[in-house]
Amino acid sequence: MPDAVTLVQWAEWFFLAYFLCVNGGYLLLVFLASFRLADYMGTVDFTDLPHVYTELEPPVTVLVPAYNEAASIVGSVRSLLQLRYSEFEVVVINDGSSDATLAELLSAFGLQEFPEAYRVRLATRPVRAVYRSTLHANLRVIDKENGGKADALNAGINAARYPLFCGVDADSMLQPESLRLLVQPFLTDPRTVACGGAVRLANGCEVSGGVLQQARLPKNPLALFQIVEYLRAFLFGRLGWAALNALLVISGAFGLFRKETVVGAGGYRVDTVGEDMELVVRLHRTLRRAKKPYRITFLPDPVCWTEAPEKLSTLRNQRVRWQRGLGESLMMNRALFCGRGTGLVGWFAFPFFVFFEWWGPFFEVVGYGVTIWAYWQGLLNFQAMLLFFSVAVGLGMLLSVSSLFLEERSFHIYTRFRQLLALLAASVVENFGYRQLITLFRLYGLMLAVVGVRARWGRMERRGAVRE
């Protein structure tokens, strides 16, 4: 039986290798993303000149599930109706709101009850009524019994008239060109079945008429750290996965899908809080099983803006829900794990998500814990402990700074020099406390799932972190 010192050594080797693998994996993704980004930036200004339409573009249905959004729904819908695209419709699904969401919509858009021949292709909670706007021919509202976001989206898909649908959150702020940009992958590659849009954080930004005017940084440090986090994990990480056609997540805040493909896969599942990720993973599974050529891709252009939580409790609830959604999505599609014919999705992306995203918080916390315990027990000297932490933290910092580098090479949306310095500082500081806190939240989410506590959506507090 090896002695305690040897066991600690093995443990340290294991955790060091773990940190190297997870951060090395992300660095690889950032590396892949850099090529995709270079291609994209090189052609985006020219591929659709002139900016006119030929009526050959595929029409799009924009689905907006709404639950208790009375304060903001009218503004959100108005800004969606201003999207610059040749043909699109907006379908708002009022998911049994208990506030004045429906009343606000009825009043603002001259809605009248409409004898819709509603087609049930995906089972949902009952639809009470369908309304059509007398002011905007391309706006309809579905009023239904509460069933959750996935159920609302399925009801929207049932009512969608067009071959592509775009799911947006009620609080998402899109740019006028967002649809035009997001549809491009469908035009250039007919195998495309889904495309995710980059979601950026609007905290601290200037907004007018529902459109972002000027990107600014928030004063709230939590929001600032999340901006760096979004660049690292939700932007360039996803672009890297898209380069491998192994993207497992498209944000529910903004994603474009081929309707018939989603209906064929069964629509959104209502028994998970991670319905957005679960759908994408299922698309991979069903399309690979059917041996159909397909692409699921990602658009790096900053086309969708949303508000990040600035309170610790709200952030905790969000991350706990995300972690649970992640686990549910993976478990519900576990047949993808190293399955036959699953390619990079099943043999690289899926295992990566299982070991480094889903169970990652467990290994990270245990790794830190074992190191500290070993030092406390005298099995590890201070110098060794410091070195281990410096590698673990340093790798995370390198990843954040690399993402900032890609941002600077591409969109550099934060134009002021001091904003750049603030982001650089945040990319260092976030590794001393913030990331570890997020890891703890995620671990909590993982533990709740393991012991079988039911997941809930919880409530996102809108603090008006965006300046109108």
């Binding site: 052609t43 004898p115 059509r132 035009l187 590890l380 000297n381 340093g394 790798l395």
Partner: protein, 359 residues
């Protein structure tokens, strides 16, 4: 406390790894700061450049004075990309005479020579900018290079090359572009639509597109069909009739039906309203709404109103409203008479849509 000899080696390895990571972080940060400084300097230069050149180009574009004797400021080579960006933005929003004046200015400044050299560069953005620039310029001297770039492996470069060729000499370019269109499968229809929008006249389309469609298989016909819209009506109708008659592919049939607007195809369209594949029935029913007659097609559309497929019912209802739109009482009577509740519901929806569109 501490490790033995093996651990010292281990710690050394960890020490150098952390040093390498630290060095990489500092290097990245330095690069970010350098990029930002470079960006700021570049933005200032661009702002100064545009403050001088934008009003000048705007005036040269709209003022109908001869430019021949007029001395133009010198364009530095380092400002070429800025000039191209500004010039292209203005060109894309101007037309006719303003186009020609800007072209003249660009030639006087020698920008076309720099663009011609840029076509040979490896950088994709530079090649694209040069392609678009030379297309607006209708630069015949670059013809051979543009024609070669038509076959580029990148669909982005080849489509933009196609556009430039069509702008330069549509008659000469059309056969090349159509040949390339047939050869490759990665050209988006929407992008080609933009290419042909202002450059493919009905006469040219008739000359090059019609022979291709007269003698091709169904898959090729499907790919060429979107461009039939550029033909004269008579030629288009004759072609659609011929394609409908000889089509063996359901996909081609439904796409042709979608474009039918002439009653010459009426008998064929009527037959397709009972076709086994629903999307063919749907397009046939929609076509009947455009070219059908009240007297003969009311019964067909009423029957299709009770089709098992939602989209067929929807198009049948729209076709009925189109045919009977002037007789709302007759529509209501038809709705009440129909035995199928889904049919009644669909007609109610479409009648309401029609009422709202006229409100």
């Amino acid at each position: 406390m501490g490790f033995g000899t093996v651990s010292d080696g281990f710690l050394t390895w960890v020490y150098f790894t952390s040093l390498a990571i630290g060095a990489a972080i500092l290097f990245m940060m330095a690069r970010i700061l350098v990029l930002r400084v470079y960006l700021l300097l570049s933005q200032r230069r661009t702002a100064r450049f545009e403050a001088f050149w934008r009003p000048l180009l705007a005036e040269l574009a709209i003022v109908p004075i001869p430019c021949k004797g007029m001395a133009l400021p010198r364009l530095h080579r380092r400002d070429y990309r800025r000039f191209i960006g500004l010039w292209l933005a203005m060109q894309e929003s101007l037309a006719d005479e303003a186009h020609e004046r800007l072209n003249h200015v660009a030639r006087r400044l020698g920008a076309h020579r720099i663009a011609q050299r840029s076509l040979q560069r490896k950088s994709v953005p530079q090649r694209l900018a040069a392609l678009i620039f030379l297309g607006h310029l209708k630069d015949r001297a670059s013809w051979l290079t543009l024609a070669a770039m038509l076959h580029d492996a990148s669909p982005v470069i080849s489509v933009v090359a196609a556009r430039s060729l069509m702008q330069t000499n549509p008659a000469k370019a059309a056969p090349l572009v159509f040949a390339e269109l047939l050869r490759r499968e990665d050209w988006p229809v929407e992008r080609l639509g933009l290419v042909f929008r202002h450059t493919l006249s009905p006469e040219l389309a008739n000359l090059h597109l019609t022979p291709l469609l007269d003698d091709c298989d169904d898959e090729t016909a499907i790919r060429l069909l979107p461009y039939v819209r550029y033909l004269h009506h008579e030629a288009r109708d004759a072609l659609l009739f011929a394609l409908l008659s000889r089509s063996r592919s359901d996909r081609l049939t439904s796409r042709v039906l979608r474009q039918v607007e002439n009653s010459g195809c009426l008998e064929q369209v009527r037959r397709y309203t009972a076709y086994p594949r629903w999307h063919v029935r749907m397009q046939a029913v929609a076509a009947l709404g455009r070219i059908g007659t009240r007297e003969e097609d009311l019964a067909i559309l009423t029957e299709r109103l009770g089709d098992e497929q939602w989209w067929v019912r929807y198009r049948a209802a729209q076709a009925l409203v189109r045919l009977l739109g002037q007789s709302p009482n007759e529509l209501r009577a038809l709705q009440e008479r129909h035995a199928d509740p889904y049919a009644r519901q669909m007609l109610a929806q479409v009648m309401r849509e029609e009422a709202l569109s006229h409100a």
